[in-house]
């Protein structure tokens, strides 16, 4: 029933032995599930047995999203309830009506103020210890994995609470690491981790929370080493980085924003990933995303911006020199060329252009002559690639694309956008790339128009 990826089709018939094995596993799994459902029906969230059952079944099946929720409710009803009661009361049991329509607080890198004042619906059983401030939950009720708790038994100060919460977050994060490694594309595991990390911000002192976030960034790098295109890991990385950037701010509020930014180190990270694999478009994409912020934070003037553009074009060209068939490299090159050929505020396209305006350009003040020079040089360099790679169809696509963009920049006598040459490239494309024949036909029509 699930979507199966990359598993070879085999004879579906099983031997009697295999069949029996399956039946045994099913029995075991369903027993677990039944026990959990029973607890849930009785809203026994503070019973540590239930928590342990979730551990067992999630190791068998981390895609079972409901169980992740059950597990969260267990923790909210038990060990976490005191310090974060206001944050979670409405979630302590499933399927309560949601009257609150603010952004769910756990997704934010810092809890929104409205979350704390969220009314606790009457249907929600109030977490056992919520009212008794200062009491530590009974040993039996605490998460038994939570080793840090014991030492704090007789403390009733905030420090003990923090230590307990820290150790709980630690143990939940540790629990999910093997699952993350085994199921790196499981949305729920990623979601569960981000939930606990966001919780850190809400319930731990900034320094402690920051340690968690920093460790998470290292883990994320590891995940990207194992699968460098995993888009969960890339998205998660941006999430961690923005959290880290904001927690630092909390810590020492008087420093300038620039000092806390991780733009430089993340920009450098994209390069180190590109050096491992030029085809890693995820890294190129992130690079394109960071470029503008980087320049703004550097306080780059027009000359520095022009130089940056130069350097990045050279990087892309170095890549193309060894990989002219690689779409990732061409998309980055195209991104840079867009930066040159786009005129701010001068397009017929409404929002597309607005989007760009909002995002700005790498070098917004290039003169038309500069821009022409850039395109002339790039087109010349790309033509040179044809000397050795006459059959790389993406070269012709780029030449046509840049030729058309060049024309749109305004009249010029340079022959960068020579009509005959463009028609010849198009003919070559038709020959090399028959799959996209329809596109070439459309392009031909527009070129002749």
């Amino acid at each position: 029933m699930a979507s199966t990826h990359g598993i070879a089709r085999t004879n579906r018939s099983r031997t009697d032995e295999q069949r029996q094995q399956d039946l045994d596993r099913i029995q075991k799994y369903r027993d677990l599930d039944d026990q959990i459902q029973l607890h849930v029906k009785q809203s026994n969230y503070s019973d540590p047995t239930l928590f342990h059952l979730t551990t067992k079944i999630l190791r068998l099946n981390p895609e079972y999203y409901t169980i992740w929720n059950v597990r969260r409710r267990c923790l909210i009803s038990g060990s976490l309830s005191k310090r974060s009661a206001g944050l979670w009361r409405s979630k302590a049991s499933p399927s309560t009506s949601r009257s609150v329509t603010t952004k769910p607080s756990c997704a934010a890198s810092s809890p929104s103020p409205s979350a704390a004042t969220r009314p606790a619906p009457a249907t929600s059983p109030s977490p056992k210890k919520a009212g008794e401030s200062g009491t530590i939950p009974d040993e039996e009720e605490a998460d038994p994995c939570n080793a840090g708790k014991e030492e704090e038994k007789d403390g009733d100060d905030e420090e003990a609470d923090i230590a307990a919460d820290t150790s709980l977050v630690q143990s939940e994060l540790a629990f999910t690491i093997p699952l993350l490694i085994e199921f790196p594309k499981c949305y729920w595991v990623w979601g569960y981790r981000s939930f606990f990390l966001s919780l850190c911000d809400a319930i731990l002192p900034a320094g402690a929370a920051r340690d968690f976030w920093a460790a998470e960034l290292a883990l994320d790098s590891k995940m990207l080493t194992k699968d460098r295109r995993n888009f969960h890991a890339w998205s998660y990385r941006r999430f961690i980085v923005s959290a880290l950037e904001s927690t630092t701010t909390k810590n020492d509020g008087d420093e300038s924003a620039k000092a806390k930014s991780m733009t430089e180190s993340e920009f450098a990270y994209t390069y180190s990933m590109i050096k491992v694999d030029l085809s890693n478009f995820s890294a190129w994409h992130n690079r394109s995303n960071l470029a503008l912020r980087l320049l703004d934070e550097r306080g780059a003037d027009d000359a520095a911006r022009k130089k940056f553009l130069d350097q990045e074009l050279e990087l892309a060209r170095e890549g193309l020199n060894v990989g002219p068939e690689d779409q990732s490299l061409w998309y980055y090159h195209q991104f840079l060329m867009d930066q040159i050929t786009t005129t701010v505020g001068a397009s017929s396209k409404g929002v597309g252009e607005n989007g760009k305006e909002a995002k700005g350009l790498i070098a917004p003040n290039l003169s038309l002559a500069d821009r022409r020079d850039f395109v002339d040089r790039e087109v010349a360099e790309i033509k040179d690639l044809l000397e050795d790679y006459a059959d790389a169809k993406l070269i012709y696509e780029a030449l046509l694309e840049y030729g058309i963009a060049y024309r749109a920049m305004g009249e010029s006598d340079a022959d960068t956008a020579n009509q005959d040459e463009m028609m010849a490239w198009l003919a070559k494309l038709k020959e090399l790339d028959p799959l996209r024949r329809g596109r070439w036909d459309d392009l031909e029509k527009s070129l002749q128009a």
Binding site: M1, A2, A8, N61, H285
Partner: protein, 329 residues
């Protein structure tokens, strides 16, 4: 379509086998996998049922039992879980609405379920009123899949006015990338799946004006690989499911002719298990109902003979969306 008549047997659609395969999906309770995938049960019904409609065998699954099952997944708050005992979530709520739309059973939702209004409220409550995007459930994971799901289900129920469409559209626009595509969240890399959800959401509310159709069309057309299959991102492997994400997106910007139809037909048909039914991600791999549906929707979008027509926005038969949305479409 003349060329297709000459395709060898293994490149003909094994309609009978696929119908049987889908009919038998629920009779595999002695397989461990069946239980491990319970969290996809309601989606599975939607995938299987839609596939059967495309194969023009809508009666192959019993309507009453389907309605009973769908309603058994509903919670007090109006949302649906994957199966009885599973928590409510956007993904399943959308599937439930789609199934009910498909089998024309919204009246049953009013009679025996919690009613459209409750479903609409469940969905609308998941909108982030600050950014316009949607969470999947109360725990707050947000991505454009949920936004699309919300628009899809709400529009089918005629309840789009419960949410802030402008903010949602702004959010989608913030997910746009320089290559014309869209990502999971603002800043995320373009991905065919997310492109589909964003384009379809914009289509539902008629707000396609920001789409850079030429640029996006180029990107989408480059997804076709020499073996005819489509990939989801640059420099990745092909997979049958992208026949849907990429192709429906091309359809929404009127550029399906930018890829080679016959090459894609060949690829999808090579992924069939012609004997036991079902379609897999790549030739020779294990089949599943998800790839079966998206293989068939791909064939349908390109006009494969004998298949019902699919709506590229809703992933439902056009006959269904026309019945429900009528002239609005």
């Amino acid at each position: 379509m003349a060329q297709l008549q000459n395709l060898p047997d293994e490149l003909q659609l094994a309609t009978e086998a696929h119908v049987k395969y889908i009919q038998n999906l629920d009779s595999r309770k002695d397989e461990y996998e069946y239980w491990l995938t319970e969290h996809l049960r309601l989606n599975g019904v939607y995938w299987g049922l839609t596939a059967l409609y495309l194969l023009k065998k809508p009666e192959a699954l019993p309507r009453d039992a389907t309605i009973d099952f769908v309603l058994s997944c509903q919670h007090e708050n109006g949302g649906f879980g994957a199966a009885p005992g599973h928590d409510a979530h956007m993904l399943y709520t959308v599937s439930a609405v789609q199934i009910l739309a498909l089998i024309d059973a919204f009246d049953e939702l009013e009679k025996r379920g919690k009613g459209k209004a409750a479903v609409g409220k469940f969905i609308a409550d998941l909108q982030n009123r600050e950014t316009g995007t949607f969470a999947g459930d109360e725990w707050g994971e947000e991505d454009t899949r949920f936004l699309y799901g919300a628009f899809n289900a709400l529009s089918l129920m005629g309840l789009l006015d419960l949410v802030n469409v402008d903010k949602a559209v702004n959010h989608i626009e913030a997910c746009a990338n320089f290559d014309g595509g869209y990502g999971l969240t603002p800043g995320a890399e373009s991905h065919s799946g997310q492109i589909f959800t964003c384009l379809a959401a914009l289509s539902i509310v008629g707000r396609m004006e920001s789409v850079e159709a030429d640029k996006l069309g180029k990107w989408l057309s480059e997804r076709q690989l020499p073996n005819g299959g489509l990939n989801g991102r640059p420099e990745k492997q092909e997979d049958v499911c992208y026949s849907w994400w990429v192709l429906s997106s091309l359809a929404m910007i009127n550029r399906t002719h930018w890829i080679d139809r016959n090459a894609l037909f060949g690829f999808i048909l090579r992924c069939q298990d012609t004997e036991k039914g079902g379609i897999s991600d790549r030739p020779g791999n294990m089949v599943d109902v998800w790839h079966t549906l998206f293989g068939l929707t791909g064939l349908s979008l390109l006009g494969y003979p004998g298949l019902d027509e699919i709506d590229p926005v809703y992933c439902l038969p056009k006959s269904t969306t026309q019945r429900i949305l009528g002239s609005k479409k």
